[in-house]
């Protein structure tokens, strides 16, 4: 950045951690996350808000981070794909893969149902689906399709993505009906703005 570029000091909580950075006023949130915070799981696909690869949760609401300036999220909370597994651990719904990786049920749903191929769009789909399942723990296939219609995938043909989200929703309902990743009987946790069910004491691993 050159000396005359206007900048702002931004204080933002990302996945439960606070970051304070001086950044150019014109810097897009997607670039801020990737280049200034080093969280490269959020991808840039189109920069016109159509493809959804850069979707993050902004105060719990799915937003396309290529449509927001970093300066506009001062004092706010952001959740990215890197925060999903931790969120699942805190909610006591974390899962392990055969290789030993910790997953959120949505991530496991995508793995079980081959809901990704190249995986570039996947973080965006996961963030959109996270918000969907919090609002609607038991969505129909049509509701899932509507929710993800702002996200583009070029590999799959979408059916397996819908299957993946449906799988995760069922698993969250079956395994922990009281939790449902932030459903009823829950209180906001401090830090990452996720929600912990009152009757679950985090990860019992």
């Amino acid at each position: 950045m050159t000396d005359d570029t206007p900048t702002t000091t931004v204080s933002v909580t990302i996945n439960g951690e606070e970051y304070v950075r001086e950044t150019e006023d014109r810097r897009l949130l997607v670039h801020f996350l990737r280049e200034e915070v080093g969280l490269t799981g959020t991808h840039q696909g189109c920069v016109v808000g159509k493809c959804g690869a850069c979707t993050v949760l902004h105060n719990g609401v799915p937003k396309k981070s290529c449509m927001l300036y970093a300066a506009a999220v001062d004092e706010d909370e952001i959740t990215t794909v890197e925060g999903l597994a931790k969120r699942a651990e805190m909610n006591g719904v974390a899962m392990k893969t055969r290789e030993g990786t910790t997953f959120h049920p949505l991530q496991m749903g995508f793995k079980q149902n081959h809901g990704l191929q190249c995986g570039f769009c996947t973080p965006g789909f996961l963030m959109t689906a996270t918000a969907l399942l919090r609002e609607n723990p038991d969505p129909t296939r049509e509701e899932i399709k509507s929710a993800i219609s702002g996200n583009i995938c070029r590999c799959t043909g979408y059916t397996s993505i819908v299957d993946s989200i449906e799988w995760a929703a069922a698993r969250l309902r079956e395994d922990e009906p009281a939790v449902a990743d932030g459903g009823i009987d829950s209180t906001p946790c401090e830090g990452c703005n996720c929600e912990i069910a009152d009757d679950v004491e985090g990860n019992d691993e």
Binding site: K50, T80, V93, Q117, R154, C155, G157
Partner: protein, 817 residues
């Protein structure tokens, strides 16, 4: 609660003795789903990266009168600025094997030939700074008339794009008794088909990082390329470098490619020169707009086709006059769009006469390149529409007509008149299976009843041969035999695998592939696990490419669906070699004959219940070579390069087996056309597919479904549309209408497994079958739906306004009769 569900759900699979054939979750997913993939923009392989931005022409056709870069160069964060003239001083034009090659450089030299052609590049210390500096470059153009249509471009008075004219290549090819076929025919059907430009637009765009090393006058390049394959020699040759001095590295994670990413190579060359000029490593990540404007796409194509058919319904011959629109420059590995399907130009049908005139035409559009289905989807759209026309003229059901003409299952291996050697197939069985799943006979009745109720429902069928593992020799057909004699004969579809077992018995399989979502790491681990008697998770698979540090050859890379054909074969053979070494070492330790040893459960079992762990074998191989048999080298390592035996050079009659193996598929689709709006609703979709032995059913399903959706997108929604001035009208995702989950139909897929006798696994490629069949199947269905109105479908995409216009026109003609 922590839940190892992945393992629980797959425990049934574990009970089975083989990993091959199991629908295992992919090992790649563990990093990709956590946002830990390393795509091109996600890592810094070297320090002090500078950033590149390209200035692009807003003019489709024009002379460059002047470029003033002084203001840009004065900016404090700009390292250097390069124009086409600077580039041309430092490299030769890229080589291409056509009769009338254009001079093609990464930046326009003196003249621009398409909307978005790069004219200058800036290197700056920051990404935003590089883009800012583009505004300070002033270019004066003199506009010239553009031509974008492939037929108009061949007119004598058409604007001439290159000094040597717009036709880059022309071949007339004839195989079998063509004249006789058309003389003998009871009917000759004749149609003209137009195939549009649509692109796969992978979610991740291109990326290149180049670092020039003065000390060795060489460069290292990281890019999300599909190569290296033949593009590495092309780039090295143009830069005047030895192939050893130009190191290409392709990371393991690539955000989709579908063929398009084979065309990063002009940018690779430009980035190497920019790095040399800047004295620093440079990085460029393509924007979406740049991708849509100026990356690559398949050729849009006009096909004038004639089909000779007997009264009984036998196809006697096919002739095609083919005009491929290659855009501004026909560039390597073109004219692959025209000739990649050479061996399978008869598709799934048993006829011996085929010929055509094949033209590579240059226009003021983006240069063409590879796109999923490479050269086949355009051709099958025409051919499978023509097949329906032939069936119609003899009054046969389109599926019955196809079945009558299919190559029978007892005719394999089958030699096509153009030189293809089909390895295996049961085409009739696939069609029957598709018809059962579709309830075809019943559906005909439902369609007719719907028609009686004034609803426009139609059924479409397409059968396609899906070639995989291209034989690189097919590109030679662009030149006539006497001209190609001057060069070396070319052939080959090979894949190299290196495999090693570490002293602690952990196993590494190193591929020469550049995957972009096809799950190579997973299928390779399944194959190797079975050979070595271990779990797939015990195997570390390294994908990605490196031309200096890995085994590779000029056909290495990930394109033409080659991994299942030659990649799996190389993994299988390399694993067998390591297993054999293990058995021999175990035989010494257990003091038995090696043939009595079996590898299971991570152990080598002898005939009398004795067993040792593979850890002991590996430990011996590395730590105690003195104990090894004479014919075993210390360590446990092998490198195997698999080559298709029948990938031979083109013969003097222009015949060649242009691919290593030939899968196939049958698609049946039902549509309803809304007469009021012109909208098309997909009612049912059935795809039956055969790629030989299936290693991972989930991955094969994913490839077929994704391919179908890609073809459907091009049939109904997507088009790279140019206006009369040659300006692209669809250069963002706001205008380029990519379908979403809301537009996705449910597809029923089923598989037949007819193993290939030519590969050790019996597996064949599968990534392109869906795309190759969908445009033809959908067009046939819409044609059938609108048949009562007399509307004929000869072009795509079938967007509502166009369909509505076709209906209006037809009704207008009817009422004026």
């Amino acid at each position: 609660m922590s839940n190892a569900l992945d393992r629980q759900e797959e425990s049934e699979a574990d009970a089975d003795s083989t990993a091959v054939g199991e629908p295992m979750g992919r090992r790649e997913d563990d990093r990709l789903l956590r946002g830990e993939g390393k795509y091109m923009d996600d890592f810094e392989p070297t320090s002090n990266l500078h950033h590149v931005a390209f200035l692009r022409s807003p003019v489709a056709h024009g002379e460059i009168d002047d470029i003033d870069t002084t203001a840009a160069e004065r900016r404090e964060d700009v390292t250097c600025v390069l124009t086409g003239a600077d580039i041309a001083e430092q490299m030769d034009p890229f080589a291409v094997g056509v009769q009338n090659p254009p001079e093609y450089y990464p930046l326009a030299v003196d003249k621009v030939r398409y909307d978005g052609e790069p004219v200058a590049m800036v290197v700056a210390t920051t990404k935003y700074g590089a883009t800012d500096a583009l505004e300070d470059i002033v270019v004066d153009y003199t506009r010239l008339d553009p031509v974008t249509d492939e037929l108009e471009a061949l007119d004598d008075d058409s604007p001439q794009i290159h000094p040597s004219g717009n036709c880059a290549n022309y071949r007339e090819l004839e195989y079998g008794p063509v004249d006789e076929a058309f003389e003998r025919a009871d009917h000759v059907v004749e149609r003209e088909f137009e195939f549009p430009r649509y692109t796969s637009a992978p979610m991740e765009t291109y990326g290149v990082i180049a670092e020039y090393d003065t000390a060795r006058d060489g460069a290292t390049v990281w890019s999300n390329f599909q190569g290296p394959f033949t593009m590495h020699p092309v780039v090295a040759g143009a830069l005047g470098m030895s192939e050893a001095d130009l190191q290409f590295k392709v990371p393991s994670d690539s955000g989709g490619s579908f063929g398009v990413k084979a065309h990063i190579y002009p940018y690779i060359a430009a980035a190497v020169i920019a790095s040399r000029e800047a004295g620093a490593p440079v990085k460029w990540i393509e924007s979406r707009r740049e991708h849509l404007q100026a990356s690559a796409c398949h050729t849009d194509r006009t096909q004038r086709m004639r089909g000779a058919v007997s009264e009984e319904g036998d196809i006697l011959g096919v002739w095609v006059d083919l005009y491929d629109n290659f855009g501004a420059y026909v560039r390597a590995p073109e004219p692959g769009n025209t000739f990649r399907p050479l061996g399978n130009y008869v598709n799934a049908y048993d006829f011996d006469a085929f010929g055509g005139e094949f033209r590579a035409v240059q226009t003021n559009k983006c240069p063409a390149g590879l796109n999923r289905g490479y050269g086949c989807h355009q051709y099958y759209f025409g051919l499978e529409r023509l097949i329906d026309c032939m069936a119609d003229v003899v009054g046969m059901d389109p599926t019955a007509f196809r079945e009558r003409n299919f190559i029978d299952e007892d005719e394999f291996p089958y030699r096509t008149p153009t030189g293809g050697e089909y390895d295996s197939g049961r085409y009739s069985k696939a069609l029957q299976r598709a018809k059962e799943l579709f309830e075809y006979e019943d559906y005909l009745g439902r369609r007719d009843r719907a028609r009686a109720n004034n609803r426009y429902i139609g059924i479409g069928c397409a059968a396609i041969i899906d070639p995989s593992a291209s034989n690189m020799g097919y590109v030679s057909v662009a030149l006539p035999p006497e001209e190609r004699e001057k060069g070396h004969p070319k052939s080959g579809a090979v894949s190299a695998v290196t495999m090693m077992v570490q002293p602690d018995a952990s196993i590494v399989v190193e591929l020469d592939s550049a995957p972009s979502g096809q799950g190579h790491e997973t299928t390779a681990s399944q194959i190797a696990a079975d050979e070595l008697g271990v779990d797939p998770e015990a195997i570390t698979v390294v994908s990605g490419m490196d031309t200096s540090e890995k085994a590779w050859s000029v056909s290495s890379g990930s394109y033409s669906s080659r991994f299942a054909t030659v990649g799996h074969s190389a993994v299988k053979n390399a694993s067998e070699q390591i297993a054999e070494q293990m058995r021999r070492i175990a035989a010494v330790i257990l003091d038995v004959d090696p043939v009595m040893i079996s590898l299971e459960d991570g152990r080598a079992h002898g005939p009398d219940g004795g067993a040792i762990s593979i850890r002991e074998i590996a430990g011996t191989a590395h730590w105690n070579p003195s104990k090894l048999p004479d014919n075993i080298e210390p360590g446990l390592r092998t490198q195997h390069t698999f080559s298709m035996d029948d990938s031979r050079p083109i013969d003097e009659d222009d015949r060649i087996n242009s691919s290593g193996s030939y899968g196939y598929g049958v698609q049946l689709v039902a549509v309803e056309v809304n007469k009021t709006t012109g909208e098309i609703d997909i009612l049912d979709y059935v795809a039956v597919h055969d790629c030989g032995t299936i290693v991972n059913p989930k991955i094969v399903d994913g490839q077929v479904e994704g391919g179908i959706f890609h073809g459907l997108a091009g049939s109904l929604y997507e088009e790279l549309r140019y206006d009369d001035s040659g300006t692209l009208q669809t250069d963002t995702f706001m205008d380029y209408a990519v379908p979403t989950a809301k537009e996705a139909p449910d597809v029923t897929t089923d598989h037949i497994e007819t193993p290939s006798p030519k590969t050790p696994m019996g597996s064949k490629g599968t990534g392109e079958a869906g795309t190759e069949g969908a445009p033809a199947a959908i067009a046939n269905a819409v044609n059938d739906a609108l048949d009562p109105l007399g509307v004929e479908i000869t072009s795509l995409p079938l967007k509502p306004p166009r369909v509505w216009s076709l209906i209006e026109e037809a009704e207008g003609e009817k009422s004026s009769d």
